[in-house]
Amino acid sequence: METILTLNNLTKKFGPITAVNNLSFSIEKGNVYGILGPNGSGKSTTLGIVLNVVNKTSGDYSWFNGTESTHEALKKVGAIIERPNFYPYMTAAQNLELVCKIKGVDTSKIDEKLKVVELYERKHSKFSTFSLGMKQRLAIASALLNDPEILILDEPTNGLDPQGIHQIREIIKVIASQGTTILLASHLLDEVEKVCTHVVILRKGVSLYSGSVEGMNASHGFFVVSAANKQQLQAELSTNPAFGTIKEEGENLVAYLNEPMDASEFNRQMHAKGIALSHLVKRKESLEEQFLEITKNLN
């Protein structure tokens, strides 16, 4: 498989603070990657380094197997970071023209890309008159101008209203479906869950998990149960070796499985012990719950 970006023990220190610590992962063509992490976990710094705006402290990275210099490689990359940055006194079309000049591509795609992000009608409006959602969509149009090998999005829905978030996600889905490699940094897990095939989880600059989304969901799931006699149920669950953590959630108990077990088997066991369940649901953790689990364990 074609490698687009490789990070090797990348480290960035801001004075005494280590923002990115010995980070290694690689990005293969055709996948959709998510970088997950709470605010301040080093996501933007990592992207800043590979995008040539932040200087690394040690380690290295290479684009397209190191065949090109970073700034040449970036011409084949589309990236938007944090918030959209354009010249406020220029119109949408003039701003995109400038990006075309920098990337060394023809200006013929401007109209097409503006249509993709539904800004074609506003192409002659000044950037300063745009709403945040429109600015963000213009940033996406700008990142798409060169039909990039990889699209890097850093918190693309940050600060947008629900409608704006929805629009951006739809656009991302369309782009992903066309086979473009995407690297999406976010602290919004459902966002990553919905579009990504692979994830890298960062916390305090350290990678906690790197691999496929399915691989991350490898746990056996959990039961949400309740019974008339809650104490008895709780006692029974805590002695059962099949269960790990047991948590109380309002009326219900949440029991995490250490080994595979289906709901009917569990029901039968409980029945045999004389416990009548009034509520039983088996669920797998959502990415969010997994994420919280993974990041919490290291506290």
Binding site: L51, N52, V53, V54, N55, E72, L74, F86, Y87, G104
Partner: protein, 279 residues
């Protein structure tokens, strides 16, 4: 190179304040020439500045480049803001992400600085040529095209000064502070001059030629010396008072060298600062 220049021009072309300031700058040059050629009529005494010999070839090259150089502060504002805007709009970051290298970024800015200097020089050349052809007492080819080194000095002076502004813009990030720093630096050089004068009077050690002439702003002002005492009317007045000016007004080689080295340093330092900085 053309790509880098066209990137920068695209940024400037649509910027209204850049357009306004540039127009003001070029109109001021025209305006001053216009005033000089108007005939004043004070109490039946006809007086016209243009008739005082300031527009005589080749003196006009000296006079006009000196006057026009005073106005360079207008373009300095444009240069400083074209640097600091990149920070305030955060477009510097975006430019780099889009695939411009830090080196290319500096080169594109420097090319623009050179372009501004070329346009100014050509403009001053054309205006002076026209004024000279209208008002000069001497219109022989050889005289018209003598002393053109003032235009070259003017060009070097602008490039040096604008490079200084570019460096300040990159370094300080805010246009107001960068212009402020420029003023403070001018005052600093002034204070040093006073100090050196004091030392010279007290100890007869002349630090002007060994140290002071190497300061950037002083070197720039040494490029084109003041032309007023060279004016025929002033000289004859001075002669009547028993004073004689023995100053040389030529464009010296040393100031050109010093300013060129400063220009290189400013551009190089701009690059180093940008390279080291996390954006």
């Amino acid at each position: 190179m053309l790509r880098l220049l066209s990137i920068e021009l695209q940024k400037l072309r649509y910027n209204r304040s850049v357009k306004v300031i540039s127009i003001v700058y070029f109109s001021l040059i025209l305006f001053i020439s216009a005033i000089a050629s108007i005939e004043f009529d004070f109490a039946n005494v006809n007086f016209r500045i243009a008739d005082q010999g300031i527009f005589n070839f080749p003196y006009i090259w000296h006079f006009n480049t000196y006057i026009a150089a005073i106005l360079k502060i207008f373009l300095a504002i444009v240069i400083v803001s074209m640097m600091s805007n990149e920070y305030s709009y955060r477009t510097l970051k975006q430019n780099l992400i889009d695939g411009l290298s830090k080196r290319e970024f500096i080169i594109s800015k420097f090319l623009t600085v050179v372009l501004f200097a070329i346009v100014s020089t050509v403009f001053v050349f054309i205006v002076s040529m026209i004024l000279g052809l209208v008002f000069s007492d001497y219109k022989e080819m050889g005289i018209i095209f003598s002393d053109l080194e003032y235009l070259f000095a003017y060009f070097i002076k602008l490039v040096g000064f604008f490079s200084f502004c570019m460096f300040l813009g990159i370094w300080v990030k805010r246009s107001a502070f960068a212009i402020g720093f420029l003023v403070i630096w001018q005052i600093f050089e002034g204070l040093v001059a006073i100090l050196f004068q004091y030392i010279r009077v007290k100890t007869e050690v002349n630090l002007f030629e060994t140290v002071y002439n190497f300061f950037p702003l002083d070197a720039m002002s040494d490029l084109i010396k003041e032309p007023f005492s060279r004016l025929g009317a002033v000289q004859s007045a001075a002669n009547q008072l028993g004073e004689e000016f023995t100053k040389t007004y030529e464009v010296g080689f040393m100031p050109i060298l010093i300013v060129s080295i400063w220009t290189l340093l400013f551009v190089y330092w701009s690059y180093v600062i940008l390279k080291r900085r996390d954006l």
